[in-house]
Symmetry: C2
Subunit: 207 residues, 2 copies
């Protein structure tokens, strides 16, 4: 259970395990061999064993993995049961798509503030939240103290918002802006580069 030492590359694979195990659970599957799991997930069985051994392992020789125990453990590692507040800055098409279509509650995230500058968007409501002008963000953030922020702003507008949010104690940024930020040591930025997987797809089709 030396969780502090789990490499980030392994952590990045956990949500995928979590999704597959959740589907197995729903379909009533109670246990699965690393071989079966590997075939479903298209990773090698030895990779799975190696990944899951990072936090104690759950497989028993000849039995395989207990699906529910493993699911709950990953849920616990990813602390999905603890709800955490988040602001969204940038309610354009991408921000709107995320706010409306992502199951934030299931991910342990509660949206408490939405911000934009577009007068056609400011004042509208989305998922029960009124979209406020970004100029009001400082007041809202001081009051609601979210730990996370989702940045779906144009690249050029991202940096001042990032700095404002950091100065008010936001500790994690989910960044879609393609702006590379240099965060203070206690702040985490998770950049999403959608085009990376498109490049991978192209490679796989044309190789």
């Amino acid at each position: 259970m030396k969780r502090e030492n789990v490499p980030l590359t392994v952590i990045r694979r956990l949500p995928r395990y979590y999704r597959y195990l959740g589907e197995l659970l729903k379909s009533g599957c109670m246990r699965i061999s690393s071989k079966e799991l590997s075939e479903r997930m298209h990773v090698t069985a030895s990779q799975i064993r190696q990944d899951l051994n990072c936090f104690g392992g759950f497989g028993q020789q000849g039995y395989g993995y207990n699906v529910e125990a493993l699911y709950r453990e990953i849920e616990d590692i990813l602390s999905i049961n603890e709800t955490c507040d988040a602001f969204v800055a940038g309610i354009g098409h991408l921000g709107t798509a995320l706010v409306n279509h992502l199951d934030f509650a299931h991910l342990g995230v509660r949206l408490t503030g939405l911000f934009d500058i577009n007068p056609e968007v400011v004042g509208t409501r989305m998922q029960g939240i009124r979209v406020a002008h970004i100029d009001e963000a400082a007041e809202h953030i001081a009051r609601l103290k979210p730990r996370l922020a989702i940045l779906t702003l144009p690249k050029s507008e991202t940096l001042p918002v990032f700095r404002l949010f950091v100065s008010h104690g936001v500790k994690g940024f989910w960044n879609f802006s393609n702006m590379e930020m240099v965060p203070p040591e206690d702040v985490v930025v998770e950049n999403v580069h959608l085009s990376d997987s498109l490049m991978t797809l192209r490679y796989r089709v044309f190789q």
Copy 2:
């Protein structure tokens, strides 16, 4: 140069190398040590050496990597210079965000068809392309023969479109629908699960 054997996990990291090397090139940097590159990219230097050794390696002991040569090689491996046509099915907020904000040309992708069922969207133009009704897709696809498709439809509407496109020779799918498809052997599906990186962010903030 045994490229056929490059593991997919390495391929998935190439777009990131490509982005970082592109930025280095822009800033006039001609060579870089694996140590410097590793610090910028937050991966270990040995990982970088191992990854790049998969296709012959480019580093010279004591010299480091030639930035432009490495950039061009990755461009070549990812075949970014060959343009490939793509259809987009689903012009809701996510589809619109992708069509308008992603630099497809730079990724070697040309959008040649956009499809939706929403009467408010069908008939409008985006990036010079008229959004057509999904019922017209079969006719368009037979004529334009795209190799790739981007699926930004609701989960429940994805499967029939996927089957239609496969039957017309589409070989690669960039799938945002959370619908797990079982593709024929010569068809590749690259699933994008946006929530995976949000879970990783949560973990990194709360660990």
